[in-house]
């Protein structure tokens, strides 16, 4: 729900217009419209930057935070700006083991993004399959599948994720499973809604009248037209799974200690908070918020652009 900016400079041709007579590719039109919202553009930049930094964390981070040989307890719990025995400045301070907090955050970011992207894509695949199949097949399959999804949606995702990760134990695969189970229902609902609406349209009826296989109709005709709402839900769900993952890890239910995500860094810092060593929890948290907010703002803008009701 980013406020649209009516006073934005309009040096671009209006949406849908052609410059040279040739039709502009839709993705370019989309980008031109996106670019007009400056906040969303900045948020997109931040998202890409963070993803890049996370991907190349080993090259970007000043220190390998999990190589014990480079750590010195002399440097433990130093405030931001401390010049460590390694010779460089710990811009964000150091943690209890004397590792550079900035490096730990970058590595944590890597794990957080990894987990939530994996969970998001698996949940998207499972959810879209269930939703589209339910809408396509109909009958009792539809009733059973969607009743199940509705039932699950009536429980908060955090509770499901909490219970599942408690039952499954710690570990990356277990955590991803818990997140997927907590989130697939949102995708299923969205895909179902879009697919039932598309299913009734003439072009699907026309495709079904031809001897095309059901698979082809689903994949080539039905699914692509259900994509826009799914993309929007995907951005929201990835942001929320980053937050969920952090919450679970904070509660000690998510990842093992050997793979510290942002949530675990915050949890580790929590015990030193009372003694005023705020940076251990505050900076990883700020990184987390920056990431979640950036993704949410981008998602909001995409939703506004894809929503035909907001178009004139």
């Amino acid at each position: 729900m980013t406020p649209s900016n009516p006073k934005a400079p309009t040096e671009n041709p209006p949406v849908g217009m052609t410059e040279t007579g040739k039709p502009t590719p839709p993705i370019l039109l989309f980008w031109r419209e996106f670019r007009r919202n400056r906040i969303a553009t900045v948020a997109l930049g931040i998202t890409i930057l963070l993803a890049f930094v996370a991907l190349f964390a080993p090259f970007v981070a000043p220190q390998d935070p999990y190589n014990l040989q480079t750590l010195s307890l002399m440097d433990a719990r130093r405030p931001p700006g401390h010049v460590g025995s390694g010779g460089y400045v710990h811009i964000l301070g150091t943690d209890a083991q004397g590792r550079d907090l900035l490096s730990a955050i970058l590595y944590g970011l890597r794990i957080s993004i990894q987990i939530s992207l994996a969970a998001g894509f698996i949940a998207l695949t499972i959810g879209a399959t269930i939703g589209v199949l339910a809408a396509y097949i109909g009958g009792w399959v539809e009733t059973v599948l969607m009743r199940m999804v509705d039932l699950q949606l009536s429980f908060p995702a955090i509770l499901l994720a909490l219970v599942l990760s408690a039952l499954l134990g710690q570990g990356k695969a277990q955590l991803i499973t818990a997140l997927v189970a907590a989130q697939y229902a949102y995708f299923a609902r969205t895909a179902y809604g879009a697919a039932t609406a598309e299913r009734r349209k003439d072009y699907i009826e026309a495709a079904l009248a031809t001897p095309l296989s059901a698979r082809r109709v689903i994949f080539r005709h039905l699914l692509p037209n259900c994509a826009p709402p799914l993309i929007v839900v995907a951005t929201v769900q990835i942001a929320s799974s980053i937050s969920l993952e952090a919450t679970l890890s904070f509660l000690g239910l998510g990842l093992p200690v050997t793979e510290p995500s942002l949530g675990m860094l915050i949890a580790n810092g929590f015990q030193y908070m009372m003694s005023g060593r705020y940076w251990l929890s505050v900076y990883p948290g700020l990184m987390l918020i920056l990431l979640i907010m950036a993704i949410n703002i981008v998602g909001d803008q995409i939703r506004d652009q894809l929503n035909p009701r907001l178009r004139r």
């Binding site: 908060p156 408690a166 937050s243 904070f250 509660l251 915050i266 009372m274 505050v282 703002i297």
Partner: protein, 325 residues
């Protein structure tokens, strides 16, 4: 209508049966409770005696049968760790959680709706934009981190409010309550605020969207034409128009706030049910986990059942619509 109620009640019962099975099987798969209950130096005879006493030697379906039968009679078993009936254990912690959840959701609703109405009436004002910005923040920031920042700011830095625990309590009707003593009240401020922020963000959005729509309605136009003051219009008409979605969300959010209380209680060491379940998970106290999950599922099923019924009462279309599917 009666058919609708019966259908819904049967559905709710079915859900409870399925949930109890899932929970029982899921919890059964975690660890071996024998290792927790029995000291490592116990003899084999002692081990077997304990296993038999806990019924762990029976086949799984029989264990479930006993478990379900006991559940129906209100017997949730005994905690392995505290060695007392689970229901008593949870019952003893419940007031703390209820107190926290109710105070925070009331706070969230009252402030959220007021701010939302303000933002809906003056959508272009600076304050409205600030309010909406805050609500985006409320959605994005993970609640546990807000809890940490609240502790850091108000407990560590300014030292105004205590960082954890429940403080002094008073016995009223045989139950201990914190919010009736000054000390207890100061303990509840931070956790309640923490728990309230997310709901508040949601209430702001709901109320703002509803108000913007209501301000354009004929009701408001007529009221204006009749010369009724803006304040009266807001109080008498707008509030009424936006109240249905807000009441719905209030009911639904009651349940999810209970779930979120787990996080808040852990951060603020609030001795409620949420803290109990996290502690039980870490020590694998099976009966407590099972009971918590079954009871939570029950609460949710009841809330959904009630919401469905209320909707059916308000809107006859739902009654007939549901029967078709």
């Amino acid at each position: 209508m009666l058919a609708f109620i019966i259908q819904r009640a049967l559905q709710a019962a079915l859900v409870m049966v399925v949930m109890s099975m899932i929970v029982f099987l899921g919890v059964y798969a975690v660890g071996n409770p024998v290792d927790i209950v029995i000291p490592p130096d116990a003899t084999i005879a002692m081990r077997e005696e304990v296993i038999r006493r806990l019924g762990l030697d029976l086949p799984l379906w029989k264990q479930y049968g006993i478990f379900a039968w006991n559940l129906l009679q209100g017997d949730f078993g005994r905690s392995f760790i505290y060695n007392m009936p689970v229901l008593e254990l949870i019952g003893g912690r419940l007031p703390a959680t209820l107190e926290l959840v109710l105070i925070s959701i009331l706070f969230a609703t009252v402030t959220g709706v007021s701010l939302g109405i303000y933002a809906g009436v003056n959508p272009e004002s600076r304050i409205a934009k600030l309010i909406m910005g805050l609500s985006i923040l409320g959605f994005s920031v993970p609640s546990f981190w807000v809890g940490l920042i609240l502790i850091l700011t108000f407990a560590v830095h300014f030292g105004i409010f205590p960082a954890g625990g429940r403080g002094e309590t008073v016995m009223v009707f045989g139950v201990e309550w914190s919010f009736l003593t000054a000390n207890g009240l100061s303990h509840i401020v931070l956790p309640a605020l923490n728990l309230a922020l997310f709901k508040m963000a949601m209430m702001i959005r709901l109320a703002r969207a509803g108000t913007r729509e209501a301000m354009l309605s004929d009701t408001v136009k007529f009221a204006r034409a009749a010369g009724i003051s803006e304040a009266t219009i807001l109080r008498r008409h707008v509030l009424k128009l936006i109240s249905i979605p807000i009441i719905t969300v209030f009911g639904l959010e009651l349940g999810s706030t209970l779930a979120f209380a787990v996080v808040t209680e852990t951060i603020f060491s609030w001795p409620g049910v949420g803290k109990l379940i996290i502690d039980s998970i870490t020590v694998l106290d099976r009966p407590v986990m099972v009971a918590y999950l079954v009871l939570t599922a029950f609460v949710f099923v009841m809330i959904n059942f009630t919401v469905d019924l209320v909707f059916a009462l308000i809107d006859p279309r739902i009654r007939s619509g549901r029967q078709k599917s």
